[in-house]
């Protein structure tokens, strides 16, 4: 995907996205995260380290912004004018939003990041040349670059025995990010194919959603209308597509569902439900 290609086809690309994208989607994996249930405990994040071979980088590299936490919990303080945060903290689980009109995709000079028929922003490690354009272009800051061969220090013997053989260990010069646990999706899809049946709702559970002690994360296929995640999106009147579409879709503005940076028109696959507080 050369620069010419991008410039010549930019409007087509955007238009395609507005009209449901280029693909004949097989699935469109999505999440609904209830921030009223998120307690900020880090269970999801640690489960992600365990599942996805995320390297521990150490204090110095963490300070330089090289932490590889695909799933991180951001913590904000609202009510900053008060003497104490009387309504507690605001926790936000943040990972790749698997945008339908992803800003990371068109800027990759080698098409290492591309859109899959599952609606995921895939990252082809073997193709990645480390330009880091995608990371620069990501409004959510959820792409993580291997500045070093972290594996040299992250898994001293025998810790390497814990590595998940279903996915690779990334080397220096490669961009990585949340995949919605694509290896789990793959396993379930293969199984369903072998059994000649469609994938059932609830069959694919990413490591974060599986671990969450309060079940704040719901994962599923928005193309399956009966799925829990579809029902939640519908209930909160959040629809696929870019801003112009979703703005009209949301008839009841008081419903809790929203997508972060909706006005950037990137069509994220993660719907958050607003945190609730009772003022007493």
């Amino acid at each position: 995907m050369s620069l010419d290609n991008i410039l010549n086809h930019w409007s087509d690309y955007r238009k395609g996205s507005e009209e449901g994208g280029h693909h004949d989607y097989e699935h469109r994996w999505a999440m609904a995260i209830n921030l009223d249930l998120c307690i900020g405990c880090n269970a999801c994040s640690t489960a992600c380290y365990a599942e996805n071979n995320l390297a521990v980088v150490g204090k110095e590299r963490f300070e330089k912004g090289q932490a590889m936490h695909w799933m991180r919990i951001e913590r904000y303080w609202d009510q900053q004018e008060l003497e104490h945060p009387e309504q507690g903290a605001s926790f936000l689980p943040m990972m790749c939003q698997q945008c339908g009109a992803a800003t990371c995709e068109p800027v990759c000079p080698v098409a290492a990041t591309y859109h899959t028929p599952d609606g995921l922003n895939a990252q082809v490690y073997n193709r990645c040349i480390g330009s880091r354009y995608c990371s620069n272009n990501c409004p959510f800051r959820v792409r993580y670059f291997n500045f070093y061969s972290y594996y040299e220090s992250a898994w001293p013997e025998p810790m390497e025995q814990q590595l998940n053989p279903d996915i690779s260990v990334r080397d220096k010069g490669v961009m990585e990010k949340c995949t919605f646990c694509v290896q789990r999706i793959r396993t379930v899809k293969d199984k369903a194919f072998m059994e000649d049946r469609p994938v059932q709702d609830g069959e694919v559970v990413p490591a974060c959603a599986q671990a969450c002690p309060t079940s704040a994360i719901v994962f599923g296929d928005t193309m399956d209308e009966g799925s829990m995640v579809s029902k939640l999106w519908k209930k909160h009147q959040v629809e696929r597509g870019v801003y112009q579409k979703t703005r009209h879709a949301k008839k009841n503005a008081d419903l809790r569902g929203y997508r972060i940076f909706e006005d950037l028109n990137v069509d994220p696959s993660v719907m958050y439900l607003e945190r609730v507080r009772e003022d007493i």
Binding site: A43, A67, E74, R75, P85, P165
Partner: protein, 737 residues
């Protein structure tokens, strides 16, 4: 059968002896043929016909990362355990697992594990064979008179606990010190006195409102996953539950509160009595069952005085109290910052009394019933045993001590003088996985299997639904040939004392098989035979037993009037974290690199202060300060947080290890070291939250030396809708909650 064992003794050996109820109608043989049970331990990960290379298989076991005893499923592929998840068949964690449980694999595969027995030779520890190590144990323990021998452990339950108790018995000793830094020992004492049960079932999910005085039930608590699960139900119930958290330092649970109130450290009891006064005298709730002296005490706490003492605004106290009567049933909880006061028992009793007044007992606090097998029940610890142990060591009353699952050299405040007193103990044995501080001070080190390599049973102390024994099985072959299971070591020790009773068991696996075979039929249910029962237990990881629940009644006990220290000054809050916990997980890199939930610091220690307090002392964010108590000082960086009372400073637990492997050693400071040795007069528990400190600036801010995740723009959302917040009224309209 080698020895002659009668039925009663057999039950005791196997851990099934009971008050008799459970065994009624049980068809127990008086002797057991042991020939049938003979078999080798075959790991479930040996290539079996049904194992397909490249396909992960999940096996049930039990987590031992904290004392909660959550059920787990471990994913095993090609003979290696790769990933742990919660076991959905357990009521305790219902398929979920916290960050500490997730990181269990890093303990198992830790590069700093001890791989061979070691003996102190001159100054240093040198390798020794198991044969010699056990011979040495036999010789030394044989020469120790009963009352000079002790076990020192963390919380222990199930059949390991049975063997340990039976070993103590065989030694003629009663000294079992059980120590946990993160404990609810004071609450257990209060519950025992007020409810007749130490561990009643807390039902957060049935409460319409929770008022928590420093109880970090979703964070560093007795069962974080269980209570987080209940919290989710509490929040999604029709009529969404309301959480009010009152504490000097914002805990993980405090972060999710609808109303978080900072309270002056040590004045929680005053607030509870003030609320009781409002309930009884203003709202006119019945005072039935409250002793006259307590009633008089309550009357003396008027709202103005209470507001002044506690620093909580009067209108807040009135509103919260009013809501407690409107949102019934509610639940009032007391946590570590209350229990850990110099009058911890009285303060906890004052708070628990609110549940009695509000009629919550029997509704949100239920009976756990009587566990049918008392021998298997968790021996829960606190800090009283640590104090008692230090005293005994100082008085040279102990000759030989075996340590397991606890690290007192690290956790004991310097003021207890334990480190020096350790040299008074002639023979210190550490059954240990890692070279922690206590292990490094031992004379004999026995390397133990990780919990993912070992057999066992666990009985969680906190079980809010049902009653179950959790089964622990090896998920893979041992990583190191020279480690032994805890049960196997205990069995070796017992064989040295009571060959006739224990000589028949080849190993702990054989012992467990027999224990399971001897399980009363009331528990075995309709399993076809022992083999089927055993297999089913391994498959589900859970054995359900009848908890014999009963009605719970509360009796308010008399308690001392709170004494408030009016002197100005700062109180140290040594706050435990979900993650490093009491320091036991400092050697797990995932947990070191996971940002603290509230401050977002990684790989370090820090002290939390309110910005107003710091400003008065000329201290800025990330400045280097010296925090000093009468017992010593620590130097570390400041993180300014508004989730602090102005009179409190908090230093999180977990760091400051002088040993414990590459990931833990030399990072940060250990605030436990500078705590006073004050104890609660009623329970003897350390008053961990009552040490006064001074803070002095010793160096400027240096952003490079304290690493935090994403803390730009004052942690504000700067107008972006990242985390949206809506008032509950709006949600009532749209979602009907």
């Amino acid at each position: 059968m080698s020895g002659k064992m009668n039925r009663r003794n057999f039950l005791k050996v196997m851990g099934w002896s009971s008050a008799g109820v459970a065994l009624t109608g049980c068809d127990m043989p008086t002797t057991i043929t042991l020939e049938e049970g003979k078999e080798d331990v075959v790991s479930y990960v040996m290539p079996e016909e049904y194992v397909i290379p490249g396909v992960g298989v999940w096996y049930a076991s039990t987590c031992t990362q904290c004392a909660a005893g959550c059920g787990i499923h471990g994913r095993v592929r090609e003979g290696r355990v790769l990933k742990l998840e919660g076991n959905p068949d357990t009521a305790v964690n219902n398929g979920k697992l916290c960050m500490m449980g997730q990181a269990g694999v890093q303990g198992h595969y830790n590069p700093d594990r001890i791989t061979a027995p070691m003996v102190r030779n001159g100054g240093s520890l040198t390798p020794i064979s198991w044969h010699k190590a056990l011979a040495m144990l036999e010789e030394k323990l044989g020469a120790t008179s009963g009352d000079r021998f002790a076990w020192f452990t963390g919380t222990i339950s199930g059949h390991q606990s049975v063997l340990l108790a039976n070993h103590l018995d065989a030694m003629g000793s009663t000294n079992h010190y059980v120590h946990e830094v993160v404990n609810n020992a004071v609450s257990r004492a209060v519950n025992q006195d007020m409810l007749g049960e130490a561990n009643p079932r807390l039902r957060l999910d049935k409460a319409k409102m929770i008022v928590s005085f420093g109880a970090d039930f979703m964070g560093a608590s007795q069962s974080p996953v269980q209570y987080a699960g209940q919290y989710a139900k509490f929040r999604t119930n029709k009529a969404r539950g309301l959480l009010v958290q009152i504490e000097p330092k914002m805990s993980l649970t405090g972060g999710s509160a609808d109303l978080w109130l900072a309270i002056k450290p040590g004045t929680e009891a005053v607030l509870a009595l003030g609320m009781a006064n409002l309930l009884l005298n203003k709202i006119k709730v019945s005072d039935a069952g409250i002793p006259a002296d307590v009633r008089t005490l309550i009357n003396s706490y008027d709202i103005t005085k209470v507001a002044q003492t506690t620093g909580v605004a009067g209108h807040r106290i009135q509103r919260v109290t009013q809501l407690l009567t409107e949102r019934s049933p509610s639940l009032v909880l007391a946590g570590a910052s209350v229990e850990g006061q110099a009058q911890g028992y009285a303060a906890t009793a004052a708070i628990m009394m609110l549940n009695h007044i509000l009629g919550n007992v029997g509704k949100t606090i239920e009976s756990a019933g009587e566990f049918p097998f008392p021998q298997l029940m968790a021996r829960q610890g606190g800090t009283a045993d640590l104090v008692a142990f230090a005293e005994a060591a100082k008085a040279k009353k102990l000759e030989a001590v075996i340590f397991h699952g606890s690290n007192p050299v690290y956790t004991a405040p310097k003021s207890l003088g334990l480190t020096e007193a350790m040299s008074n103990i002639g023979f210190k044995v550490a059954i240990s996985q890692f070279p922690d501080e206590t292990t490094m001070a031992a004379d004999l080190v026995l390397p133990v299997d990780s919990y993912l390599e070992d057999w066992g049973t666990q009985v969680p102390a906190d079980q809010s639904e049902g009653t179950a024994i959790h089964v622990q099985q090896p998920l893979m072959e041992k990583l190191n040939a020279e480690t032994k299971g805890l049960g196997d070591i205990l069995l070796s020790l017992l064989k040295q004392r009571k060959k006739d009773e224990y000589g028949q068991f080849e190993d702990y696996y054989a012992y467990l098989r027999h224990a399971f075979a001897a399980m009363p039929t009331s528990v075995k249910g309709d399993a076809k035979n022992d083999e089927a029962f055993w297999n089913a237990a391994l498959q589900t990881g859970v054995i359900k037993v009848n908890g014999n629940a009963k009605d719970l009644q509360s009796t308010v006990v008399s308690f001392a009037a709170p004494v408030v220290d009016d002197s100005t000054g700062l109180t140290l809050v040594p706050s435990p974290r979900l993650g490093l916990f009491d320091g036991r997980h400092a050697n797990l890199p995932w947990l070191q690199e996971a940002p603290d939930q509230i401050s977002k610091v990684v790989w370090d220690s820090w002290v939390e202060m309110h910005p107003a307090t710091a400003a008065k002392m000329g201290i800025g964010n990330l400045d280097l300060v010296k925090v000093s108590s009468a017992q010593g000082s620590v130097t570390l960086r400041v993180v300014l947080l508004k989730g602090m009372h102005a009179d409190a400073v908090a230093i999180p637990l977990g760091q400051g290890h002088e040993a414990y492997g590459r990931y833990a050693k030399g990072l940060g400071v250990n605030p436990l070291q500078i705590l006073d040795a004050t104890t609660d007069s009623k329970t003897g528990e350390l008053a961990m939250y009552s040490t006064r400190v001074t803070v002095k600036r010793v160096g400027p801010a240096d952003s490079l030396s304290l690493v935090r995740m994403g803390t730009g723009a004052g942690d504000s959302q700067v107008g972006r809708k990242l985390v949206g917040t809506v008032p509950v009224e709006q949600v009532r309209r749209t979602e009907g909650t």
